[in-house]
């Protein structure tokens, strides 16, 4: 296990998450894919903190901040999803085109 292995793993996770964001049609599915991307970013922080960092403790603290911001994002996004579901009964992104000019 070297640093390049960990970075390649997080690159793979980022590509998988981008694929999910581009192909999912349900809003909750898009949120799930964003979680995969954030997971890859966290692995990158942890790998750099483990192998080589001027300040390794900061590398261990950053994933925790990412998790907290992700929890905030998830709470607000799920509130938006609930209110949207109440109005339209569908969560298909192809049908959300009111702002389509």
């Amino acid at each position: 296990m070297t640093l390049s292995h960990c970075i390649f793993l997080s690159l793979l996770l980022c590509a998988i998450g981008v694929y999910g964001v581009l192909t999912r049609r349900n809003l909750i599915g898009i949120l799930l894919s964003v979680e995969v991307i954030l997971n890859g970013a966290n692995i990158n922080f942890a790998a750099f903190a483990h192998f080589r960092a001027v300040d390794p403790v900061a590398g261990a603290i950053f994933p925790i901040f990412v998790m907290a911001v992700s929890a905030c994002e998830m709470a607000v996004a799920l509130a938006i999803i609930i209110s949207m579901y109440r109005h339209k009964r569908r969560l298909d992104v192809y049908r959300l085109e009111e702002l389509n000019g």
């Binding site: 581009l22 261990a60 907290a68 799920l78 609930i82 109440r86």
Partner: protein, 176 residues
């Protein structure tokens, strides 16, 4: 031995993440995301970051994913199949874009001549939980007290905002 364990964990993680983005039933996708988060916690333990592994299990698996499962059950009728077919051309476009992103980033990574990328032994000392706790709350030059407080404020604002957005607005609120 460590390499073998890392390859096993990494391939499991990639497989579970692929399942999470491609399964048509969202309930199954969320459950495979739980599995991928557990594997990520195991990777953090391999990287000697036990605190991050614990908070991964508590925050992500215990908090965010459970929240997400509740929302999936609320909005798709008890996990009933709610599949919207994706056109094959769009799927191919998604595969193309993500694959070209992966290729570009991998080329950038491996064209870097740094020796650091292939070093076997870590150069940093092990991080203990005490270090993380003291750094999070220290007010010194390298302390993280200000981001910590801002994060707590952000959590409060997100909580209130979520309640306000998700509230039923039937237009007849009584003014007292």
């Amino acid at each position: 031995m460590t390499d073998y364990l890392f390859y096993t964990l990494a391939s499991t993680l990639v497989g579970m993440s692929l399942l999470a983005v491609s399964l048509p039933n969202l309930l199954h996708a969320a459950i495979s995301l739980i599995a991928s988060f557990f594997v990520t916690a195991a990777l953090y333990i391999m990287l000697r970051l036990e605190f991050v592994a614990l908070s991964q299990i508590m925050l992500y698996i215990g908090g965010i994913i459970i929240f997400m499962l509740i929302i999936i059950l609320l909005t798709t009728g008890l996990g009933r199949e709610n599949r919207h077919p994706v056109h094959k051309s769009k799927r191919l476009t998604g595969i193309g874009i993500s694959f070209s992103l992966l290729l570009g980033l991998t080329y950038t990574l491996y064209s870097n001549p740094s020796e650091l990328l292939t070093q076997k032994t870590p150069l940093t000392p092990a991080i203990t939980m005490d270090d993380i706790g003291f750094r999070l709350l220290s007010t010194g030059a390298n302390g993280f007290i200000v981001p910590f407080e801002i994060i707590s404020l952000l959590l409060l604002v997100a909580l209130i905002g979520a309640v306000v957005i998700a509230r039923k607005d039937n237009g007849k609120e009584t003014v007292q």
